[in-house]
Symmetry: C2
Subunit: 607 residues, 2 copies
């Protein structure tokens, strides 16, 4: 690079040109040795410019890849001279010939790595200021900054590829369902608030002041209406909304693959759904999932894994030790509803610090403490609690767990809920800690036979575990009122790698059963009428037996992409405060807008 080059700004060359009819011949991943000698026309962004040996090189980037481009003064003086103006992220169109790179400059990691384009003509399509962070896969820019400049963040190939895959997955789902005669039918976004479930987003009505639409938490009742209307097989890839405090992996708006079919049963739906998932995995990431997904009842999942969405990529099962300690001197155990134990082979290597961290971790789930026993290599049982155990208890514990020198046992005791959840969550941590999880594996399974109802101590009533339209199992019509805890649902969840990616049920299709269900939930006739009147009507006019399933598309894509955050698979995600840092939504609006809607802001002191 000459001194002159460094001094000049080259502003005179920074004149933005029209396309003037230029058309691309290839994307930036397509030009290879088979195009040698051809004239090609590429357009894209300047990833990188370097000046070397009197030549100017740029890596030209588009959605699909990179191509090396050379401006040579011997080849064309003017073309080369003007190229001095080029900076990173400038948009250019280049026309030139494909030639082999010189020996030693071949890049084997690139599909285009053997060739380069020697430029005959080029146009500057746009300039760019220096971006606030580098457009590269690896970035240390704060997520806040990246979300504000999302239009630049999405240029990073590692993110862009997620949206290419997301599109592929969605079209794969559609092809599959369309092929089976499912109709994609659009259901309303402006609908009715039915406060059974999460909190609704509300939309004030201008034409009906004082009244509100709600954004749908799911199209559940609409898809049931479509079954009553005889449309037979419905699906929709559809936005749903929940106004909940956001956990790290939740968004206020999320996308669901929503499916419903008539004249069907659990087996048919589960087969259809697992085939769909298999198709998507195969068509997007060329991964072949097992021909039949394993199945597990809810009770088995809780028993063995402590949670209803077990990660079965690794074994490490929980065991129940309640009986062993029934009459124990160790009151923490003997007085507990449930005692669960987890044997971790080789776990004796865990440091005191690690165990302390795990103790804190299980507190998140309501645990009061984490009991443990290390079996040292010499067979000694090292533990703060073992001194309280009888010989018999120790013998039975050995027999139950098959514990060996070098292992550790972790215990959770307390209410069934807390003990299971805490130890089940610890299991995942330990799976990671001991490298038991094959990160490239996908372990799908079905969880079935869910309880229909669960008691809500705050509301002092039973609530539907899935939703109030889920059918009890055949023959359990009366169980739901006589023995609500024992009633099982015709419901099923699909779990992959510990994530619940979908769930569904056979629905209630007679007014008698639906009425009974509402009674069991303490929803009176009047309340049922005002909230679900149209459902009760619809069931009277020949509703077919029907059921369905819904998948969380964002989560599914996250798993397919191997992304760490759901925000990496949503084009314009919101923060945990439910704001969009790019558009600055939500925002204040004009008071005239509120007046038209018949609302006003509550003053701070009122709030």
């Amino acid at each position: 690079m000459s001194e002159q080059t460094e001094e000049r700004s080259y502003d005179e060359y920074r004149v933005i040109e029209d396309l003037g009819g230029w058309k691309r011949t290839h994307n930036c991943n397509e030009v290879t040795a088979k195009n040698l000698g051809e004239e090609v026309l590429l357009m894209g962004w300047v990833q990188f410019r370097r000046d070397h040996g009197g030549l100017i090189f740029i890596d030209l980037r588009d959605r699909e890849g990179l191509t090396q481009v050379v401006f040579s003064p011997e080849h064309n003086t003017d073309v080369h001279e003007r190229a001095h103006a080029i900076r990173s992220e400038y948009v250019v169109a280049i026309k030139g010939n494909v030639r082999l790179r010189p020996d030693g400059m071949v890049n084997k990691n690139l599909t285009t790595g053997e060739v380069e384009i020697i430029v005959d003509e080029w146009k500057l399509l746009n300039t760019s200021e220096t971006p606030p962070f580098a457009i590269e896969d690896r970035t240390d820019a704060a997520e806040q900054l990246r979300l504000k400049y999302r239009f630049l963040d999405l240029r990073r190939p590692i993110l862009a590829k997620n949206f290419i895959l997301r599109n592929k997955a969605a079209q794969s789902v559609r092809r599959y369902l369309d092929g089976l005669g499912f109709l994609e039918v659009e259901t309303p976004v402006l609908t009715k608030s039915t406060p059974e479930g999460a909190r609704d987003f509300l939309v004030p009505s201008r034409m009906n002041n004082g009244e509100f639409y709600a954004l749908p938490q799911s199209p559940q009742l609409f898809k049931q209406m479509l079954m009553v209307s005889g449309l037979d097989r419905y699906f929709q890839i559809v936005k749903c909304f929940r106004d909940e405090d956001l956990r790290a992996d939740r968004q206020p708006e999320f996308t669901q693959i929503d499916i419903e079919m008539s004249f069907t049963d659990e087996e048919t739906i589960m087969n259809m759904a697992e085939n769909m998932i298999r198709t998507v995995f195969s068509e997007t990431i060329a991964k072949e999932l097992p021909a039949a997904f394993p199945r597990m009842t809810f009770a088995e999942a809780i028993r063995d894994y402590g949670v209803d969405k077990p990660d079965v990529r690794f074994d490490l099962k929980l065991q129940e030790a309640t009986e062993i300690f029934k009459g124990s001197d160790f009151k923490v155990f003997s007085k507990s509803e449930l005692v669960k134990v987890l044997r971790v082979p080789g776990g004796a290597e865990l440091s005191r610090k690690e165990i302390d961290e795990y103790t804190k971790f299980v507190e998140i789930y309501g645990s009061k403490g984490l009991a443990w026993i290390k079996i040292k290599e010499d067979g000694e049982w090292q533990s703060p609690i073992v001194k309280f155990f009888s010989e018999d208890e120790i013998a039975k514990l050995k027999e139950l767990t098959g514990v060996q020198p070098g292992d550790i046992l972790f215990f959770q005791a307390g209410s069934a809920d807390i003990a299971n959840t805490a130890l089940g969550s610890l299991r995942l941590k330990l799976g990671e800690r001991f490298g038991l999880i094959d990160e490239s594996a996908f372990a799908p399974l079905w969880v079935t036979d869910f309880p229909l109802l669960e008691y809500n101590p705050e509301e002092k009533r039973y609530v539907a575990r899935h939703h109030p339209f889920t059918s009890p199992q055949v023959g359990q019509m009366d169980t739901i009122t006589e023995n609500p805890d024992a009633a099982l649902a015709r419901a099923y969840d699909i779990v992959i790698n510990g994530y619940e990616i979908g769930g569904g049920s056979i629905r209630i299709h007679t007014p008698e059963m639906q009425q009974k269900m509402f009674s069991a939930l303490g929803i009176g006739e009047e309340e049922a009428r005002s909230k679900f009147g149209f459902l009760m009507d619809a069931l009277k006019f020949g509703a077919p037996p029907h059921g369905g399933i819904a998948f969380g598309l964002d989560r599914l894509i996250m798993i397919l992409c191997g992304a760490k955050s759901i925000r990496d698979v949503i084009a314009f995600p919101k923060t945990q405060k439910a704001t969009c840092l790019m558009t600055e939504a939500p925002s204040a609006v004009a008071s005239t807008q509120l007046r038209e809607l018949g609302i006003r802001l509550r003053e701070k002191k009122e709030a």
Copy 2:
């Protein structure tokens, strides 16, 4: 039918059964003579039951069609006896053998019309009360009633077929765009209010009290952001929202096929888009549209048809007569900005009553009156106004219009806007009246070279005719401030049969041009910053040249279906008061919900 039959209620047989593993073998349109002797299993609704010659016949209906089913006491006594319980709209599953119908009972209008199923076994899957209206294509039930019972209305085959076609069209669009490398990317529904355009629906934020999201009127800025981010080709079939007073064929939420591409120009987009429409017509209704759609400039459309979305299925062009009457004694014409005339061959047959109706009709468009001249068969000019015309004016009018005995001439005079719109709208009425319109024809065309700006007398400023992100034509950078009325946009609309089904433009892609555009629109720097800050930012960092188009899917489906109302192609439409009669949305909500959102209702007197 025996007396006993009429007296008994057969309630004892009305026991709803489980599917018990029964699976359909066919839909109700599929069983034909080629299945003779086969055992089939069908499920569906009872369209109609009749008892004849000791047999019970039902027409069984599902989404796809009808099959005749026979219950015979000789074939199976119990099966026949229980069939007495069957009523219209009951849901049944029937298992039986396919046999030919007896001679004289063949129905040639049905794919299944040669055969019937003789029932071996059947299950009652659900009963039905008598529906509030008959489930038949022809209905005289009020639309209000049908919307309340939409789940029954959608059972009518004439409506159900619209949703089968709608799905087909949407999947056809997706296949086409996917094949060209367009990525379907989902943009947010909870976004920012930008009051340039129609009125927004607002969503109060619970986490940010006092602030509001807006539902998108279109994903315009998001799709431009995706181009800036290099995603290159985007599409989305997406819900959009406008809180406007509803005309008969508008809905508060509607669906758009939204498309954007980079490194492109008008020709490329128009070719891509017309190919898409051709594909959809071909794949859904097997209609082949012309290989290249005719094109017309905005100026030509207004000149010849008075409107920017001409129905060119018939000729009948408007002509301009302003010059002829420049110095006329007939002041209504001589003082008008524009005089337009429409010659209707054979129009002299119109009655006085009809002409009076047309006079009222044009008043809707602001017309002050409808002047006319009938040319009687004997050549006499019959008209209330012709006495004011000079010989010369009459001669020129003859020459201009080529009017013949038996014809009528209609005139509109006044402001250009009113004269064009009123006479252009009358033209459509007359096309219908004289049977000039081939209802089976589809006449697509492009309208191009739209004005970029139009003066808004109320706001006393220019507004963007398309939207403020539309690029002026090449070389018109300065025209937009120096001669705003003359500036043309790089915009194009696609029109079929007089409906605008899509429109788009090449966008502005440099900050300088966008700034200039905002200035021309009287949007100051601060306002631009607060509303479109992220757009201005994005254009600074290497925005590629880009453009796109959006189609109104509902309207397109309406045209494909030959439906008369947009409500017939939307599963759960809203009324003109923006209410859903089925769910009763919008509705009052709990005051706790409002409190959480930081809003309260404005009292009536405040409003």
